[in-house]
Symmetry: C2
Subunit: 218 residues, 2 copies
DNA sequence: CCTTATTTTTAGACATATCTAAAAATATTT
DNA sequence: AAATATTTTTAGATATGTCTAAAAATAAGG
């Protein structure tokens, strides 16, 4: 199996690949791992020898098939534990990350299989991010960001992209909570702000905010 | 906080202290940690510098107050996770140990506080061992081994001492399961074997077996 | 009580994962 | 395209936790 450090590198490379499709640079990875570029080079070499990444000097890294598989497994574990913490142990959205970062490295196939079952096979974590299934597949769904909706569209608020405590407090304040039906009443062309209706109340929402709300279309 | 290795040493010293009250020898600890005596000496020095153990060269170690506190916290976490695995994730008694060994090192006060609450403050783990409370206190109870009961006594079967898969299969076979009321009908003087009644059935049980069953007296 | 056996410690080495500082490669500017 | 700036890699060092082999301390036996 892989060391804690190796697993964290794989996970970080996976996330950075979304933004850097051509390959993740050493510096970007150093920033993501909160370490020095030289340390990154060392670790990349190790991962490369284990065929977890494809690496050519000075050209950045990409995950190999087996590297991606491992990264997705870790992400699956992270997100399932987040669901557990919020749904069963009454954690709030902004408290789960640090603990899930630890729990994601526990090694036991049975543990995660049974946890998944216990949680009734959730498809999204508390932030609205999809949870890959046991085969590592992300099951697609009819989900989008509120910002993508047009005047007249509506959907269920199923998650947030920005899970900072600050943002969650803001949502609390405007009384927008998970599971609510949100309808777009009007959308301003000049700043993309919206007037939406939630529980019969009309609320004005900036694009910054609408970009952070995951909506499941009905 | 303490490293994984430090935590494992503290836990092992704690357990060995039950048998070696005068202090745990370097060799005993090496055996318990499955490592070499020289490694143990190195680690003991480190723990001693951190005031987690009391150590005089060639005289073995004892836990200090803070060392004992830390060890008990780890044991509390281990046992709570075992309850979780058995009660919520359908693990069997003989599968939980390895996973709990990993989970016991997760660092989050809130996690363990909420887990305890979620499990409704269990007082014993699936093997019948007591779970210290958040203050590190073992709440005493009216529990004993079946072997200690006399003719006519009865009590609830609340745990096993030997949790080998073999033994658990045997219990399954004779239909003795957790929570059952067991009454001692007769006890042989010459081999200490017993005839007990469970669910109206009379079963013959050897001393070897009765010595492995934790009973809560009613 | 002195010799032998056992236990424990020390000394020096190794692997992992990190760092700093310097060198090498690549990218950018003029 | 040459000079400069940036990025990446290498080289050498450090901390943790382990090991082997040898030395030192303690325990046991005659």
């Amino acid at each position: 199996m892989f060391s804690l450090s190796e697993e964290n590198y794989l996970k970080t490379i996976y996330h950075l690949e979304q933004a850097y499709k051509e390959g993740v640079s050493t510096n970007a990875l150093a920033e993501g791992m909160d370490t020095k570029a030289s340390s990154v080079t060392d670790m990349i070499k190790k991962l490369s020898e284990k065929s977890l990444v494809k690496y050519r000097k000075y050209q950045g890294v990409k995950l190999s098939e087996s590297g991606r598989k491992t990264a997705v497994e870790i992400i699956r574990k992270h997100r399932l534990w987040e669901v557990f913490l919020v749904e069963k142990l009454d954690f709030s959205w902004d408290e789960v990350h640090e603990v899930a970062e630890q729990l994601e490295h526990i090694k036991s196939e049975k543990l995660i299989r049974q946890l998944d079952k216990f949680l009734e096979f959730p498809s999204r974590d508390p932030h609205g991010d999809p949870i890959p299934n046991a085969d590592g597949k992300f099951v697609v769904s009819n989900q989008t960001l509120l910002a993508e909706l047009q005047k007249g569209n509506s959907g269920i608020f199923v998650g947030v992209k920005d899970s900072s405590a600050e943002f969650l407090r803001y949502l609390d304040k405007i009384q927008v909570s998970l599971g609510k039906l949100i309808k777009v009443i009007d959308k301003e062309d000049y700043d993309q702000s919206m007037i939406v209706e939630v529980d019969g109340l009309k609320i004005n929402i900036s694009q910054e905010v609408s970009n952070n709300l995951h909506i499941k279309m009905t």
